[in-house]
């Protein structure tokens, strides 16, 4: 099985400082690190959310994320990058996803991290199911705004 050391799919939480330190390790010529952390909001579509459950497609997820990551490296001069996405049950305020990118100059890191997130949102096979306080469950709908955000990067 192909290994993707810069992609992690895990149920455990992650620590930002630790992950950024790993990202920078062995790269002295870094001037900029941009990190994005996505977190569980307690409100979605106007309803309170108690639990968020993340399902994914093992195998395809890693491949899709690595493809997005490598495309970012092709488009911008980056030193290193990492994508961590959690799966399983999460609760309001929990961390869901980390995208961290390092580069010599800040502009590349900002664009690359934003690009990776926009592509992840529409191309990586994850699905969210919400549980409301009354116990009802519902699958989260894909957002048109996410598709539009992805399309802005079309070259």
């Amino acid at each position: 099985m192909t290994s993707y050391p810069h992609i992690k799919i895990q149920s455990e939480d992650f620590d930002l400082t630790t992950e950024v330190a790993k990202l920078r390790q062995g790269h002295k010529d870094i001037g900029a690190v941009v990190s994005f952390v996505g977190t569980v909001r307690d409100i979605n579509e106007g309803d309170e959310v108690s639990v968020l459950e993340l399902e994914h497609y093992p195998g395809m997820t890693e491949k899709a994320l690595e493809k997005i990551r490598l495309e970012a490296h092709e488009r911008w001069a980056l030193e290193s990058s990492v994508i961590i996405h959690r799966i399983g049950k999460m609760y309001p305020c929990d961390q869901i996803v980390l995208v961290a990118v390092s580069s010599r100059h800040r502009e590349n890191a900002f664009y690359a991290a934003h690009f990776i997130m926009d592509y992840l949102k529409t191309n990586a096979p994850f699905w969210k199911k919400e549980t409301l306080p009354d116990g009802n469950e519902r699958w989260v709908d894909a957002r048109i705004s996410d598709k539009e955000a992805e399309q802005r990067w079309a070259s």
Partner: protein
């Protein structure tokens, strides 16, 4: 054989996460037509669904994608991670 996977709302709606079928279909479309004949929920999920997402061997695919024995074909709704 073909390995067929269903994810998220599809898995729940169709009541199955995966199944094996004989590799007697040339394209994804042929497979979909066969599955859609199973009943309403199958037809709605796979045939009448503008938002159907398809992957063959972990890559994004379309109804026209050719398939062969040993392939893994997945059906799922639009993704909502991140």
């Amino acid at each position: 054989m073909l390995n067929i996977l269903y994810f998220a709302s599809f898995r729940e709606m169709l009541g199955t996460a995966n199944e094996e079928l004989p590799a007697t279909y040339q394209t994804v479309n042929c497979l979909i037509n066969e599955l859609a004949a199973r009943g309403d929920s199958w037809r709605q999920a796979l045939l009448d669904n503008q938002n159907l997402q398809i992957a063959v061997n972990h890559d994004v695919a379309s109804r026209d994608t050719m398939i062969k024995a040993g392939d893994e074909i997945a059906f799922f709704p639009p993704v909502t991670g991140g």
